[in-house]
């Protein structure tokens, strides 16, 4: 492969949409699904859990501890744990990634709620908000910038971690690494890296834009203040 160019465009053109399971387009789609579903599930679980941990502080230490243990396990170990239950499917990748997401998002929700200034919370109480409405209309909205910060970290990590699934044949674009490595053929590897990086940058950009839309009050803080 000495004379091999780094990128063979013809290979890309042939394999972009070749109809088979290893088409680059198919891998890209499954990569996106496997990376983003854990973030969505993670957010849905982290919101109530984070709120509960912020409300009952004694819950937070054990929850955070458990999440950190999971976070510190090599993803491969996690995959193999679920492998025995869910087999060689996308689910085996999605479940552990959801746990990783939780490990990032639960602290983000707790920190976000913790960052609500005390005088803001107190004045909400004094105005006559009941607890649920105060949570939904004052505390969570004020926590949004911190939660979105966590969501950006979770999303980008998830996009890069999906590749590990390639070891069980469910790595999305990560499969290209295995393919290229086995055949000592660089093009799929470069394509994989570039697409994963592009996905990460794009998703992060979208989240930044979402924050800009959702929190004009913190946007303006940086702008005009």
């Amino acid at each position: 492969m000495n004379d091999e160019p780094l990128i063979r465009w013809d290979w890309i053109a042939r394999n972009w949409d070749n109809g088979g399971p290893s088409a680059i387009k198919t891998l890209l789609e499954s990569h996106v699904a496997m990376a983003l579903l854990p973030v969505v599930f993670g957010l849905l679980v982290a919101l109530p859990l984070g709120v509960a941990c912020a409300r009952w502080r004694w819950l937070y230490q054990p929850t955070a501890g458990l999440m950190n243990v999971i976070y510190s396990l090599p993803s491969l170990v996690l995959f193999s744990i679920f492998l025995s239950v869910t087999g060689l499917t996308q689910t085996t990748v999605i479940i552990p990634l959801t746990f990783f997401t939780l490990a990032v998002l639960i602290p983000a929700v707790v920190d976000g709620l913790g960052a609500v200034p005390d005088h803001v919370r107190q004045s909400a109480v004094a105005m006559g908000f009941r607890p649920l409405r105060r949570l939904l209309q004052v505390e969570l909205p004020v926590a949004v910038p911190v939660v979105l910060g966590g969501l950006r970290v979770a999303t980008v990590s998830s996009i890069s971690l999906v590749s590990v699934g390639a070891l069980i044949g469910q790595g999305g674009l990560g499969n290209l690494f295995i393919d290229g490595w086995q055949r000592q053929f660089y093009t799929p590897i470069v394509v994989g890296i570039v697409l994963i990086a592009a996905l990460a940058v794009l998703s992060d950009g979208l989240l930044v834009f979402a924050q800009w839309l959702l929190t004009p009050w913190s946007r303006a803080r940086r702008g005009t203040a």
């Binding site: 004094a126 105005m127 006559g128 908000f129 949004v144 913190s218």
Partner: protein, 358 residues
Amino acid sequence: MITFEDVTKRYPDGTVAVDHLSLQAPTGAITVLVGPSGCGKTTSLRMINRMIDATSGRILLDDQDVRAIDPPTLRRGIGYVIQQAGLFPHRKIVDNVATVPYLLGWDKKKARARAMELLELVGLDAKLANRYPFQLSGGQQQRVGVARALAADPPVLLMDEPFSAVDPIVRASLQDELLALQSELNKTIVFVTHDIDEAIKLGDVVAVLRVGGHLAQMAAPATLLSEPADDFVREFLGRDRGIRRLSFVPAKGVRLGPLPDDLVVDADGRPLGWRSDGGLLPYGTFNPERDSLRAALDAALLSPNGAAIAADGDGRAVGVVTRDALDDVLIRYAEKSLEHEPEPGERVAADDHGRAEP
């Protein structure tokens, strides 16, 4: 009327923040709770809207025990203003002000219209309505805080050191505006501060608390100045009690003499200065219809010849009070105050200072 009946608050850690406090805050008046930091002012205030529940004793709103009212419902009927304003950072000013109307289920249009009325009432430009809180100065935020507390027109207003965090000039104007608002709205206001001057300026009744939540004295400001109940109150009031007390005596009674020849006035009759060989000398004026005896004395001290110029609302000189005439008034006042205390109604909310001119 808000009544504290033998109210005690003991926190779970054993701190007794308020100890057997009994007092009444009259309807339509400003009652100021004043005392050093940690003496239980905030705790007392928050027991009224049940952000804190008393350990024992009762608090009555008119005749109803606040404990009998569901807290959120109670709070929607009581305006609350705090030091940092406590505005919601994620809501525009208009929506901040409309908070309680929204909670009460008003429709959005009506709530916002009401909020706009209130912004005007507290002297804020309508174009601030669509800004976010951080885009306002501290003084403006504090005005929004007052507007928000008044939005649903509650009969009772609780204010916890609302003006402590703004600079002295803004603070003074916020205080004046509160007095002006109050003369229109006649709310029952409980106002907490650690600043005795603020207490004396704003209070119809001032309750001085000492650490441990003990009521040291409760009286009209003039009475407090002339008859502090004990050393603690005397010390807390600070110096110059005699002079400060003159703030509560209208200057109306002073005898005005004719304008002397050496007072130079312009074509409209406004004073320009005292004639002397070296040019015009400085002078001081006061408005006998509006100002206090303290302002008259101040004006006299600003003139080298010791005569205070009485000026009408348009600034025209209408007479002069010589130092002798002023002495008479002060002596008469001192004698009279031995016999009776000035009634709260006698107080002048007016300027304490004579106006100094060139």
